[in-house]
């Protein structure tokens, strides 16, 4: 038996304690926002927070969540359903394409901004390189993080790109 909280709600789970958090959240708790991508912590699609720390839920057994708090993408918005600034930036920049990796991207970005409210490009690289986006929306992800952080510069034009 595992006792944990998920997005602020206390839950008691009768599951094999070796079962990864990913599958408990998806199949037992019926919350499918957290995605399965690789099963070996290589792609980040399954990222959730465990007591605020981003973890790859495909490779983290539910036993590790005993007595701790799990936050999933469904818990990013406020209780009133209002999107977080990060989620809103994701919409404003039109980040997602297929969208499958985006729950994990958002969870990694949310943890980054909480610990480091104005991250540098290198900080963003370090925090986000574990999250694969097969649609290749890395530049938009970077831009959305900066918008949420309030550090976004105006678009650099193509010519500036050449001269830089």
């Amino acid at each position: 038996m595992v006792q944990t909280t998920v997005n602020g709600k206390a839950v008691t789970l009768e599951v094999d304690p070796a079962t990864p958090i990913l599958w408990v959240v998806r199949e037992q708790l019926d919350m499918t926002g957290t995605k399965f991508g690789c099963g070996i912590a290589q792609c980040g699609a399954c990222t959730v927070h465990l007591d605020g720390t981003p973890v790859r839920s495909c490779s983290t057994p539910i036993s590790e969540a005993d007595g701790k708090a799990i936050t999933t993408v469904e818990g990013l918005a406020g209780d009133d359903g209002v999107l977080s600034a990060l989620q809103q930036a994701w919409i404003d920049v039109q980040v997602p394409q297929c969208g499958y990796c985006q729950s994990g991207q958002l969870m990694s970005a949310a943890a980054l901004l909480r610990d480091n409210p104005q991250p540098s490009d290198d900080d963003i690289d370090a925090a986000m390189r574990g999250n694969v986006c097969r649609c290749g929306m890395y530049n938009r992800i970077r831009k959305a993080i900066k918008i949420a952080a309030g550090t976004d510069q105006a678009d650099s034009s193509a010519v500036e790109g050449a001269e830089a």
């Binding site: 999107l83 919409i91 729950s103 958002l106 290749g136 050449a162």
Partner: protein, 757 residues
């Protein structure tokens, strides 16, 4: 049915309650009124005499039918665009609605989007047409005979596909806009009749129909019913770009909000209302074509949660009460496989096979694809002769969402199927065929796709899931492991391509001779008609391979663009000419191509002095109706080669949603760069060696170049695609940049095979 959340009414030819509109000889618009007073407008066809060539493909003779229901207008002013294409990130559902709404002058806030069901009513006739006759323009596209023929062909092929970068230029340009314009015309006619004013004096703006002189105005909904009483316009007038209010605008995509809060439903998230799902993990023989000869599953049987272990001959499925439980049990199962002819094949053996086939056909054998002048004679007397061989490897699609499908074969023989497919009708049909039941007995639900790239045009996941569900009798969600997804793909084929080119004494390219292995699609991929080369010979040779192959983002352009544009760079280098300037000369008779090339060169500051160890490379590739040129900047001064910037200029005719189009260029560039740097599926003893993202690497955030995109709207009447054309120029732009930076010529991908820094 006024409830716009309900099923669209176009799944069969909608049965209008009343319809005054008379079919004229050229009539093609259908309209009706649905229960609750909603107007529905679609594209009807009247098939005439097909050409002799196509006649044998026709299933029946003359008929008239409403084949598409593209738009509903209900009494609450809600305009529902019924889009016959799926959403896999390319954003075309939004753009299709945007095109329809613009022609209607609908209020965008009142527009809803409904994905059409997997049904023969939504076969991609417009794609068949675009594919068959790409040069027809509006309004010739309204010619009915051809419509009928193509509909029949599309129907027979089970073609309801999202792919080929066709949605906007096919369905959008030819279907959605026409339906929107027709709906507007009928609404105006209805208002004119009721108000007793001439139609010409009526204006429509954001869903409001108005007559200025009398001060009358009404919302769409008020005339939804009356509009259906109007005659059907045979040839509705489409807007010109100066009249566009929504087309071209960067409208936000309808699917994005659900993709930031976790609520978007992908195939892997499917639920069957009121039913508890079981989960299946599967393993197929590592060598394609082998079968399972023995299975030891004793340990698996005893594992927690395991419900059934199924040896299906061509794969094993473990069904359990959770996916992880199923996969854990599967991992303990020991399997033996039958021998196949491919058991000794490795990657080198395949390329050796290609070399042998190419050697055999020599300079003029093989299947001729293009022949102008005499390439061999011209080459023989050329002042300078250049030749080279290029190779590209097998590639997997690696969609972020592994293959999956949920199925329930019920006791009455019918089946519920849930998946995210690029071909919903094909998925539904193959489920029916596999089970030996009628199409109508398959209740198919399509979801969002967690990446498509061509992989989800295949339906092997559907077949597998319904076979498992047939065996269990209870609802099962099949999920492939990443390892299975990587090892059992329909791969982008590997290929070898050999070139020779001749230069005259002034350095002009006078001959071009190419022989390459295999051709899949599109046929123009290896051809360069836009380059002014007088003697041109392009040939192919078929070589068997045992791996399953399928469409992979940009299909054959993905290999041939690398081959052609890299070799052209070699030619320029041998001629002692700047590769941009050489392309300029070769494009003298292709002004749209030249404009794109010039623009990207300007964007990138082509010709500037580059720091040591860095370089720029350029490439231009027209594909899927769009012309795209890219410049890549590489930096070889670090521990590994790095692509730092990519400039992209594209001419898609007209970008119907500019931000969506730019996003597709960005996406194609990253997808292409991933393959350029890392992409390789290799074989050992017939089996795919790669398994997961540690050995089939993906580009990540810290390796992503800055990307700058500019768009030229070069011909609004002839649209090009978006999903694929951004990809092909990327690889050669990068390898040409590596040559510029280091003098190393890359003739085989991926870059990870080479020591570059």
């Amino acid at each position: 049915m006024s409830d716009m959340t309900g099923e669209p009414q176009g799944t069969e030819a909608p049965k209008p309650e009343k319809k005054k509109g008379k079919w004229s000889r050229r009539a093609f618009i259908g309209a009706g009124i649905l229960t609750g007073g909603a107007l529905v407008v679609g594209v009807a066809i009247r098939s005439g005499k097909p050409s002799e060539r196509l006649q044998k493909l026709m299933a029946s003779g003359d008929n008239e039918m409403l084949i598409n229901s593209f738009v509903k207008i209900d009494k609450d002013n809600i305009v529902t665009a019924v889009v016959p294409h799926v959403e896999m990130g390319q954003g075309s559902q939004t753009v299709l609605a945007q095109m329809l709404a613009d022609e209607m002058d609908a209020n965008w806030e009142d527009v809803r989007i409904l994905e059409a069901p997997g049904d023969s009513a939504y076969v991609s006739k417009d794609i068949a047409r675009e594919y068959q006759m790409p040069n027809l323009k509006v309004p010739e596209i309204l010619e009915p005979t051809l419509d009928g023929t193509l509909f029949q062909i599309a129907n027979m092929m089970g073609l309801q596909i999202t792919g080929g970068s066709f949605s906007i230029r096919g369905t959008g340009q030819r279907g959605m806009r026409t339906a929107g314009a027709a709906a507007r015309q009928m609404l105006v006619a209805a208002a004119a009749e009721q108000w007793g004013v001439p139609e010409e004096q009526i204006t429509v703006d954001k869903g409001i129909i108005a007559h200025k002189a009398s001060g009358k105005s009404a919302k769409f909904g008020q005339f939804a019913g009356a509009a259906a009483e109007q005659s059907l316009p045979a040839l509705p007038k489409l807007k010109t770009p100066d009249q566009f209010t929504l087309m071209g605008k960067p409208l936000q995509r309808h699917d994005i909000p659900a993709k930031v809060d976790g609520s978007a439903v992908f195939g892997i998230d499917a639920k069957i209302p009121g039913e508890k799902l079981s989960y299946a993990a599967v393993k197929a023989p590592p060598v394609v074509g082998a079968s399972i000869t023995a299975m030891d599953s004793d340990a698996a049987k005893a594992m927690p949660g395991v419900q059934q272990i199924l040896n299906m001959g061509d794969f094993v499925a473990v069904v359990a009460n959770g996916y992880w439980q199923a996969q854990q049990a599967l991992n303990t199962i020991k399997l033996s496989y039958s021998k196949t002819d491919a058991d000794s094949l490795d990657a080198d053996a395949i390329f050796a096979r290609y070399a042998k086939a190419l050697d055999e056909v020599g300079d003029d054998g093989g299947d001729v694809e293009t022949q102008t002048g005499d390439a061999n004679a011209s080459y023989a007397k050329a002042a300078k002769q250049i030749s080279a061989e290029y190779r590209a490897p097998f590639l997997a699609h690696a969609t972020m969402e592994p293959q999956n499908c949920t199925a329930w074969v019920k006791s009455d023989g019918s089946c519920d199927v849930y998946a995210g497919s690029q071909s919903p009708l094909k998925a539904r049909k193959v489920a029916a065929d596999t089970l030996g039941i009628d199409l109508e007995q398959v209740n198919y639900t399509n979801t969002y796709l967690g990446g498509g790239f061509g992989r989800r045009a295949e339906v092997d996941n559907i077949v597998m899931a319904v076979r498992i569900a047939k065996a269990t009798g209870y609802p099962v969600k099949l999920i492939w492991s990443r390892e299975e997804d990587t090892a059992q793909d329909f791969y982008r084929p590997s290929a070898t391509s050999r070139f020779s080119a001749g230069l005259d004494d002034k350095g002009k390219v006078v001959s071009w001779n190419n022989i390459h292995t295999h051709l899949f699609d599109p046929q123009e991929a290896p051809q360069v008609p836009y380059y002014d080369i007088p003697n041109n010979l392009v040939r192919k040779v078929e070589v068997p391979m045992h791996l399953r192959f399928g469409p992979w983002r940009s299909v054959d352009h993905s290999q041939h663009a690398f081959f052609i544009e890299s070799f052209l760079d070699e030619v320029a280098s041998e001629a002692g000419e700047d590769s941009y300037q050489m392309r300029r000369k070769l494009l003298a008779k292709s002004p749209r191509h030249l404009a794109v090339l010039d623009k990207v060169a300007k964007m990138a500051g082509w010709g500037r002095t580059m720091p040591k160890g860095t370089g720029l490379g350029i490439a231009l590739v027209p594909s899927f109706g769009s012309i795209v040129a890219e410049v890549a900047e590489v930096d070889l001064t670090g521990k590994k080669p790095r692509v730092t910037k990519v400039w992209c200029c594209a001419d898609p005719g007209y970008a119907m949603n500019i931000d969506g189009f730019v996003a597709q260029m960005e996406s194609g560039i990253i997808y292409g760069l991933t393959a350029t740097l890392y992409g390789e599926i290799s074989l050992k003893k017939g089996a795919v060696q790669q398994s997961n993202f540690h050995d089939y690497k993906m580009l990540r955030m810290d390796e992503a170049p800055q990307i700058f995109v500019e768009v030229i709207n070069g011909d609004p009447e002839r649209l090009g695609g978006a999903g694929e054309p951004g990809l092909p120029p990327l690889a050669p732009a990068v390898t040409n940049a590596i040559f510029a930076a280091s003098g190393k010529r890359i003739r085989e991908l991926p870059l990870s095979k080479h020591r570059i820094v």
